[in-house]
């Protein structure tokens, strides 16, 4: 009897165990394993894609084209564009920009090869033309700009500070001078015995881009007042004897003149009251004497700040 019971119990345990194991294994293989496989597959796809994107980014950074543009003739309507592929990759050109309009392209450029294209433009006088080539990988390559003037097409030089000839500098006033404008009153009414002085300059922007004169601009006297410095100011008023600080930066359009005013720096903080502080007894006035100043001009051109110094000469009068 006991043996039979134990045997039956063993059998029952065996059935439940087997069923449990079957269900567990089945559950494992039908749910958990597929889930793991799906997740693993997703991870693999993600890794592959990321690797591919990294490769594409690498290719994008190695893409290198040199774009050269020239006109077919001096007054031609046709521009010749030469694109040199200087990288080891095959580059597909998708767009060619001329200033703010583009034409769709579909040119494939093999490694180390050159592609030549002609583009028709209707040039406007005194207009600058910027040509860009856009690639399928999202790069843009810019050619040196062309300028169409009265002499036809010319290469536009890249912005840079030149040694001379960029700005025409001229005296406007230095106290009482023959250059004095009738319309101005502040310079007119400064007494001859005054111990303060303002200097006016006219500058011309010879660039083809607008330039912005920055507040750091100053003038240093060379003759007759050694090491006297004047800051650029907005304007001076008289008889209040005040100087308004230069806060609104002047934008000078291409070919345009701008009048800039300099006044003495003060040791009285921000009060901008002048007279007793330097420069004092500025002028031992000698009729017809020549003065020299050095203008240090800070300006912004195409988003970059440049500094240029130039020496100017002027005649002052004591009358």
């Amino acid at each position: 009897m006991r043996t039979t019971r134990i045997s039956r119990l063993r059998n029952r345990r065996g059935i439940s165990t087997i069923l449990g194991v079957i269900i567990f294994v089945g559950l494992l293989f039908s749910t958990v394993v597929p889930m793991y496989l799906v997740m693993n597959q997703a991870d693999t796809i993600y890794d592959q894609k990321m690797f591919e994107m990294k490769r594409l980014e690498d290719e994008r950074s190695r893409e290198s084209l040199v774009v050269d543009v020239s006109a077919m003739s001096q007054y031609s309507n046709i521009l010749n564009i030469n694109v040199s592929n200087e990288c080891v990759l095959v580059v597909k050109i998708v767009r060619i920009w001329i200033n703010d309009t583009y034409s769709t392209a579909s040119a494939v450029l093999q490694s180390m090869s050159v592609l030549s294209m002609n583009l028709t433009v209707v040039p406007s006088l005194n207009c600058s033309y910027s040509i860009m080539v856009a690639t399928e990988r999202g790069n843009v390559f810019v050619a040196d700009s062309l300028f169409y003037g009265e002499d036809g097409w010319v290469k536009e030089p890249p912005p840079e500070v030149q040694e001379s000839g960029v700005f025409k500098l001229d005296w406007f006033y230095f106290k009482y001078t023959s250059y004095q404008k009738q319309s101005r009153t502040d310079a007119n009414i400064i007494p001859k015995s005054s111990t303060y002085v303002a200097v006016y300059f006219k500058i011309t922007n010879n660039w083809i881009y607008p330039m912005t004169i920055k507040a750091e601009t100053f003038v240093t006297w060379v003759v007759p007042y050694v090491e006297v410095t004047m800051s650029i100011v907005d304007h001076v008023t008289y008889p209040a004897k005040t100087i308004t600080a230069y806060t609104n930066e002047k934008v000078v359009q291409p070919g345009q003149d701008a009048e800039i005013v300099f006044a003495a720096t003060t040791r009285k903080g921000t009060s901008w009251v002048w007279g007793s502080s330097i420069p004092s007894n500025l002028i031992t006035q000698n009729p017809g004497s020549t003065a020299y100043v050095q203008l240090t001009l800070f300006y912004i051109l195409l988003g970059k700040t440049y500094c240029q110094t130039m020496t100017a000469q002027g005649t002052y009068f004591s009358s």
């Binding site: 439940s16 559950l27 749910t31 597929p34 889930m35 799906v38 993600y46 990321m50 843009v140 988003g303």
Partner: protein, 153 residues
């Protein structure tokens, strides 16, 4: 136990039926519970796997999104800044464009759809003075950004 033993006929009958029934009951119980657990686990793992795959795909789409501000120009007669956005990735994108004139105005144009390998022009009405510097940001809905600095000449 010996004194309580039933007549041998009944005992034999019970002995015959109960192992079968108990086995059936046991098996049924195990199958039912096991099936329930199986079903629950399967749907749970399916949901978990789908969520995971969706998450990975979303991350992948974010990681493979590629776009650039290719060109910017300003059309003075109607004070419109034109921003060209080129999508050189494989996914279609939706971008919001923000324009900030340094020391001046701020403007934006939302929800601009760009198909894969396509370029679109986004016109934004804003007044920009000559010489102003303009910071432009194109932000995709997946969280990627492209920047451009434009100088109004």
């Amino acid at each position: 136990m010996e004194g309580l033993e039933l007549p041998s006929k009944i005992k034999r009958n019970r002995r015959g039926i109960s192992p079968v029934i108990s086995s059936i009951i046991l098996a049924a119980t195990v199958i039912t519970i096991g099936g329930t657990v199986w079903s629950f686990t399967q749907s749970a793992t399916t949901v978990i796997a789908e969520d995971y795959v969706d998450g990975v795909m979303s991350l992948m789409n974010e990681g493979t999104e590629r776009f650039v501000i290719e060109h910017v120009s300003y059309y003075t007669p109607n004070n419109t800044l034109q921003v060209w956005i080129y999508n050189y990735g494989d996914n279609d994108i939706t971008v919001d464009v923000y324009v900030n004139v340094i020391g001046g105005f701020f403007e934006s144009k939302m929800e601009n759809n760009v198909s894969s390998k396509a370029i679109i022009k986004v016109p934004i009405s804003i007044t920009i003075a000559s010489g102003s510097e303009v910071a432009i940001k194109a932000a995709s809905r997946r969280g990627n950004n492209a920047y451009y600095t434009y100088l109004k000449t």
